[in-house]
């Protein structure tokens, strides 16, 4: 269900019409607490300059404070050419690699990378390939009348064509006026030009719901029909990150788990991880994911000629 995102949304909408009186309430729940576990947030790109990997501890579910950083780890990445990149501990959970020459990138399309983390006597490893990414051809702005899709106003779409061959995965990130659209519902993922592996939509322009996925979702308090996604003068910036297929599955999974609920919820489950403890007898497990991405980007401004 999850990959065919628009279908799911429409079903929920439809259901909301049927169950006219359905309602959601925030409630108090007593939850068990688990032991803190190492969480690896490792996302390395082919962009020039410094790269940061973040290591934190998992916390009780309702603990809203920022996650506590892991401060006693050693972090390095080795690429398939044999180069080793050591990440320096910044003592706040961040581990940073900075090149001698600020234009030098860490990642290179086609290479494989192995991440090694030593922490608390355990050694963890993860591998990832850095895949290619298509260029963004254009960002189109359209003025739309009020409809089922939202209020009257300016709507954006980006145009890019999926690379040839099956199995290319992408995360499309959008920024409005420099602010990353960071809601779980705004995570915009593509498998080839479509939503999932089974559908085999190869080498097409990304399907419309993906192209439109760069419009911000309104907040709950805002009247849905009053806040258009973009207004004249706003800037739009779009990035496509290439993903490995494992990362794509992981991202789809967490997107669903973060929004799982309602009538057609799927069984909640733990997110997968590609971080492996080299000692397979150890009971200590790390969480999170290591991915390497190539990035393409394009920006534009909403002007009144649209």
């Amino acid at each position: 269900m999850k990959h065919i995102n628009p279908i799911y949304k429409v079903l929920c909408l439809l259901w909301a019409v049927v169950g006219l009186t359905a309602c959601e309430d925030v409630i108090d729940v007593d939850l068990d607490k688990g032991e803190p576990q190492l969480v690896v947030d490792a996302w390395v790109t082919n962009q020039p300059g410094a790269q940061t990997i973040r290591l934190t501890w998992s916390a009780p579910y309702f603990d809203s404070a920022p996650a506590k950083g892991v401060e006693d780890a050693e972090v390095s990445i080795k690429d398939s050419e044999g180069n080793v990149y050591t990440f320096e501990n910044q003592n706040n959970g961040d581990y940073t690699w900075a090149p001698a020459n600020p234009d030098e990138p860490l990642g290179k399309i086609g290479n494989k990378y192995t991440l090694t983390i030593r922490q608390g006597g355990e050694t963890f490893q993860a591998t990832s390939s850095l895949n290619d990414v298509p260029a963004i051809d254009s960002i189109a702005i359209e003025y739309k009348e009020k409809s089922l899709e939202g209020p009257e106003g300016h709507y954006a779409q980006f145009y890019a064509r999926d690379l040839e061959g099956l199995g290319d995965c992408y995360w499309i990130k959008a920024y409005k006026n420099g602010v990353f659209l960071n809601k779980p519902s705004e995570i915009n993922l593509a498998y080839d030009a479509g939503f999932n592996k089974g559908s085999k939509v190869d080498n097409l322009v990304f399907l419309e719901p993906i192209r439109e996925g760069i419009n911000p979702f309104p907040d709950e308090q805002e009247e849905d029909d009053e806040v258009p996604p973009y207004a004249i003068g706003d800037s739009i910036y779009v990035e496509i990150f290439s993903l490995t297929e494992e990362t794509f599955d992981f991202m789809v999974f967490i997107r669903e788990q973060m929004q799982n609920g309602g009538f057609f919820a799927t069984p909640p489950a733990n997110s997968p991880t590609n971080i492996v403890n080299l000692d397979d007898k150890s009971t200590v497990q790390a969480l999170g994911f290591f991915n390497t991405s190539a990035v393409s980007s394009l920006g534009t401004k909403v002007t009144d000629k649209e």
Binding site: V18, S199, P267
Partner: protein
């Protein structure tokens, strides 16, 4: 505990042979049909009693009875609850055919009857784990939005549950929604719901009889593991033109019945259409203004008698739910069924029915405009033939035998996507299969007290080409997606995989005294097609898949024991039943399974085992101004799947420990009656997180113990009330009418459907705290009043 197949087979053969010498004595056969005097409708389960011999029979689903007894003179009583009995003295020297018409008890005199048949049928019949609700009863229960509903009503019976209001289908004794065989005039209905699960596809005005079998299922039924819901449509009034209907808040109904040739043939046509969209319009946002949302269904049936021995029935159902939102989105889904039946009497003792039926469930979705669009259609179609014989050699035996053959055509997804003008076909291949069965069973009265019902069903299934079969890597991590390691192309009609099974069935009744009996049953059921669904409530888009080289058929063994006791001359009826079910090859899903439009669906499925057990208490008052029932079920339904919940047992999504229902009807006076029902149900299991992970600025829920269904949502309870006002009846006028006023969810309980965990949905600036919350979803957040006007003429 589980009798071997050989024992059952021997019993069956023995049963047949024992009777042959008996048959050679000088015997006469009394046979015929029992019908309603006003409408000509055959009565199902009416009793025929030979008083001198204290023996008799009941009519079958076509209203036919046959009793073979030594020649002599007898007093024969024909009776059916809610009807005046007919007693006739007759000298039986030769075989005799006698059709009897029973007159319904006049409304004014009637002591309201909750359930029908023989008054002590629950004691004297071998049948157990079965529930029958009269349409009369269903029509008195508090309606939702003015409409009573068959499936919502059966959820108040012991052993029957649902995951929540508005959820499609129902669960029986710990089985899934797709494990119920829902039959409408013998044709299977693949999605029994309209508007998700708020209403079922059965138009109450067109239904004559329904029976739910939860256990002790006889050999003529098969193909699903948990239950059989056998719904029979009315034949139509063969005496005169009549009609009935109603106008409610959500939809209106109209039913017309008339003879084709008086007393020889009749038809019924019954339709409903909802107007939720029209009513909802003022409440919808402007942007939804042009949306269309409604459902309709049409039930038609005709029958004709050719002489004394032959009768033809033709019936059909067409239903559709439709939802369009401007030109952005169009969708519809619905069932179509068609049944042609031929009843033939070979002789007074051998009744034959041949059914040919067709059933189709499909849905279509369409997004967007030409340049950028997505179209998707899916369906399951099947064609069936089912011959069945019922042989009445004597009063001690009733032998049923026959077969069934079904051809399936699955279309899991025919889809095209168009992006910026480029079109691409992303359809999945059709899948084909054939399922067949032959069966024989006997209901044998061994003594006044002991009755046995035994039978054997042999079923087989062929997964057929044309198509591609895949081979998956079975050595990967358990509970995770399996990789394809090979594939093979198959030509049209080639058998890709085949399965066959023997399904023994056994039930016995021992009457302790005229008001109490003990019953026991065992059945094995095999299911070859599977409803693929891992969402909380099943959706109209769920896809059925055949058993394949990778998906094994599901098997369930069930044993049940029951004690039945009536009090005060059958005014009170009580029962206690316990059951245990063993499930094999239950379909489960990997975490995050992708089930729609996925060519490699089989790689996302897991096979597990399950067990369900429980005790069902039931007490019912049949007569008097105040009547109704109390039902309580204590049960457990669990699964064990490699790679899920650390390979340990876990309660499944529809496990409900306690389930209490109270249903009451009270007749205030001739014009006013009231009814109410109250339900209290344990919360269903669900998985709650313990921890949170921060990743890329998102908060991901995490369960440290990695357990499935580690919590339960809170208790569910609800009260509904209704009052019926009958219009004044005028002498000599056929027109009758009544108003129904109802309150659903009387004390405005916000019952939880589910509890979900999420980070706050508002945008949170980078660097700020990200709060997490638990959210309860209630399907009904308020009391729902309604009114409807109903009429008959």
């Amino acid at each position: 505990m589980i009798p071997s197949i050989r024992v059952i087979t021997s019993l069956l053969i023995l049963g047949l042979f024992i009777q042959i010498p008996v048959h050679a004595q000088e015997k006469v056969t009394l046979s015929g049909y029992v019908r309603d005097k006003d409408t000509g409708e055959e009565l199902i389960g009416a009793s025929v009693l030979i008083k001198e011999l204290s023996t008799g029979n009941i009519t079958n689903v076509y209203g036919f009875y046959s009793v073979s007894i030594p020649a002599g003179s007898y007093t024969v009583q024909y009776s059916y609850v809610g009807y005046l009995p007919v007693v006739q003295n007759m000298d039986l020297t030769t075989d005799k055919q006698l059709n009897i018409e029973l007159a319904a008890v006049q409304e004014e005199l009637e002591e309201v009857v909750v359930m029908g048949e023989k008054e002590d049928a629950n004691i004297s019949s071998v049948e157990m784990s079965a529930n029958k609700l009269e349409m009369k009863t269903i029509q008195k229960m508090p309606p939702l939005l003015g409409e009573v509903d068959l499936i919502r009503s059966i959820q108040l019976l012991p052993g029957v549950t649902t995951v929540g209001e508005g959820a499609s289908g129902f669960n029986v004794r710990g089985g899934g929604v797709g494990e119920n065989l829902v039959l409408l005039d013998e044709a299977p209905v693949y999605n029994s719901s309209h508007m998700f699960g708020f209403f079922s596809v059965f138009n109450p005005d067109a239904v004559k009889d329904m029976k739910l079998l939860k256990g002790g299922i006889p050999a003529q039924f098969g193909g699903r593991t948990s239950s059989i819901l056998d719904v029979r449509m009315k034949e139509g009034n063969s005496k005169q033109f009549t009609g009935s209907g109603g106008v409610g808040l959500i939809f209106s109904r109209l039913t017309l019945e008339a003879p084709i040739v008086k007393d020889k043939g009749s038809f019924i046509i019954s339709g409903r259409r909802s107007y939720a969209d029209i009513l909802a319009k003022p409440f919808l946002n402007e942007d939804l203004e042009n949306s269309i949302f409604y459902f309709y269904d049409l039930t038609v049936k005709a029958n004709y008698r050719f002489g004394q021995k032959d009768r033809l029935f033709l019936s059909g159902y067409f239903g559709k739910d439709k939802f369009d939102a401007d030109d952005i989105f169009k969708s519809n889904w619905g069932n179509k069924t068609g049944t042609l039946r031929w009843n033939h009497l070979f002789n007074d003792q051998l009744f034959f029915n041949l059914s040919l039926f067709y059933s189709d469930y499909d849905y279509n979705l369409n997004f967007g405009k030409q340049e950028d669009s997505f179209e998707w259609a899916s369906r399951i179609v099947n064609y069936n033939v089912k011959p069945e014989f019922i042989f009445y050699p004597n009063t001690k035996n009733e032998i049923t035998f026959g077969g069934q053959l079904t051809f399936y055509d699955f279309k899991p997804g025919e889809a095209t996507g168009t992006s910026a003008g480029d079109e691409i076909d992303i359809s999945l291949d059709n899948k084909y299969a054939m399922e067949g069965a032959v069966y024989a069973g006997n209901e044998q009265t061994l003594s006044d007290r002991l009755t046995l019902q035994y039978g054997l069903r042999y079923s087989f299934f062929n997964y057929l080409g044309k198509g591609t079969s895949y081979e998956y890597d079975q050595n990967g991590e358990k509970g995770e997606q399996k990789e394809v390691i090979g594939s093979k192309e198959w030509g049209k009609g080639e058998v890709i995989e085949t399965y066959h099974n023997l399904e023994p069935r056994l039930a016995l009744k021992y009457e302790l005294n005229p008001s109490s009996s003990l019953k026991a049953s065992y059945n094995r059921m095999v299911q070859y097609i599977h409803l693929v669904s891992n969402t909380t409530a099943s959706t109209p888009l769920d896809v059925w898949t055949p058993s394949t080289n990778n998906i094994k058929p599901m098997k369930v063994d069930q044993v049940a024991l029951g004690y039945f006791k009536n009090f005060k001359d059958n005014v009170y009826e009580t029962s206690v039943e316990v059951y245990y079910k063993d499930f094999h090859d239950v379909v489960e899903y990997i975490d995050g399974a992708d089930l729609l439009l996925n060519e490699y669906l089989e790689g996302e499925l897991l096979a597990g085992v399950g067990r369900a057990y429980g005790v069902e208490l039931y007490a019912k008052k049949n007569k008097g101004k105040l009547n109704g029932w109390v039902s309580y079920t204590l049960s457990r339904s669990e699964r064990k799947v490699e790679g899920v919940n650390k390979d340990k047992w876990f309660p499944n999504r529809f496990d409900q420990t306690h389930n209490l229902s109270v249903v009451a009807f009270y007749e205030l006076n001739k014009r006013w009656s009231v009814s109410g029902n109250f339900s209290m149900i344990s919360g269903t299991p669900t998985t709650f997180p313990t921890n949170r992970l921060e990743y890329q600025g998102y908060i991901i829920p995490h369960n440290y113990n990695d357990t499935r269904n580690n919590y339960r949502i809170p208790l569910y309870h609800r009260l509904d009330l209704s009052a019926t006002l009958h219009g004044k009846k005028k002498e000599g006028r056929k027109w009758e009418s009544f108003w129904v006023f109802s309150l659903y969810n009387v004390y405005n309980q916000k019952n939880p459907f589910s509890i979900a965990f999420r980070q706050q949905t508002d945008r949170i600036a980078a660097g700020n705290n990200i709060p997490t919350e638990a959210v309860k979803l209630s399907v009904f957040g308020s009391i729902i009043p309604s009114v409807s006007y109903n009429f008959k003429f």
